[in-house]
């Protein structure tokens, strides 16, 4: 009786955690935020499967939980490779990848009036070159 009550309470808590994590998936400002939240969702679903296994007594659910964990791990690894292949979106350029010459040079050195206009080397151009 204690156990069934505890399982009910745990299911309610897991529902709350699930909703919070879904909120992060919806809101998450960047792609890696959503990937982290999806990884977390897999963990919560594994918790649900474990609770159902205790309730019903079917221990075969453990295998389902293990395979779901394997799928979640592989999905996270694949998403990590995808994030690695695509640079962060522009908008606020990361301080790490911003070329030092653009930030350090005084503005009049770049906009000298008599100077011939070279093709502007934008941040993304330099970043591509530095790769």
């Amino acid at each position: 009786m204690i156990l069934s009550a505890a399982i009910w309470v745990a299911m309610l808590v897991l529902c709350l955690a699930f909703l919070l994590t879904v909120w992060r998936v919806v809101k998450g400002p960047t792609l890696p935020d959503r990937v982290v939240a999806l990884d977390m969702l897999v963990g919560i679903v594994i918790g649900f499967i474990a609770l159902i296994a205790i309730r019903t007594g079917f221990t075969l659910y453990i295998d389902i939980a293990i395979s779901l964990g394997l799928v979640g791990f592989l999905a996270t690894v694949a998403f990590a490779r995808f994030i690695l292949a695509s640079p962060a979106p522009e908008g606020e350029p990361p301080a790490l990848l911003r070329p030092a010459i653009v930030t350090m040079a005084p503005p009049q050195a770049r906009r000298k009036p008599g100077r011939k206009e070279k093709p502007d080397e934008t941040v993304s151009n330099r970043r591509r070159k530095s790769r």
Binding site: L3, A10, V13, M40, I46, A50, T76
Partner: protein, 114 residues
């Protein structure tokens, strides 16, 4: 008596796992940037679901089931840091910024490691 004690212990483990998962979900919403959110999700969330899996193995009272549950337990505990570390490295390499209030960025001074 013994059975009631073991049921109480399993109930405690289940509740503890659920609370860990809830803490991870709250941390996922409250922490400021990607890297600290990852810290919440990959530690507390993994321990929560692994504890619930351990509770299944203890509840069945069967050695084979307990062995499978323990295998799942260690599988989760071993794969979660790998995936979190890989995701953090990928995000840092492709240039997602840290939060404003983070105090230390050790990879900033070592551009060759990025």
């Amino acid at each position: 008596m013994i059975q009631m004690l073991s049921e109480t212990a399993i109930a405690m483990i289940v509740l503890l796992g659920a609370l860990f998962v809830l803490a991870a979900a709250v941390g996922l919403n409250r922490l400021p940037d990607l890297y600290s959110r990852m810290h919440a999700a990959s530690k507390a969330g993994t321990v929560g679901s692994a504890l619930m899996l351990l509770a299944v193995g203890l509840h069945a009272g069967d050695l084979g089931t307990l062995a499978r549950a323990l295998a799942g337990f260690f599988f989760f505990l071993l794969t979660a840091p790998v995936s979190a570390h890989l995701l953090a490295m990928a995000a840092r390499k492709s240039g997602y910024p840290l939060a404003k209030q983070s105090v230390l960025d050790e990879m900033k001074n070592r551009p060759e490691s990025i």
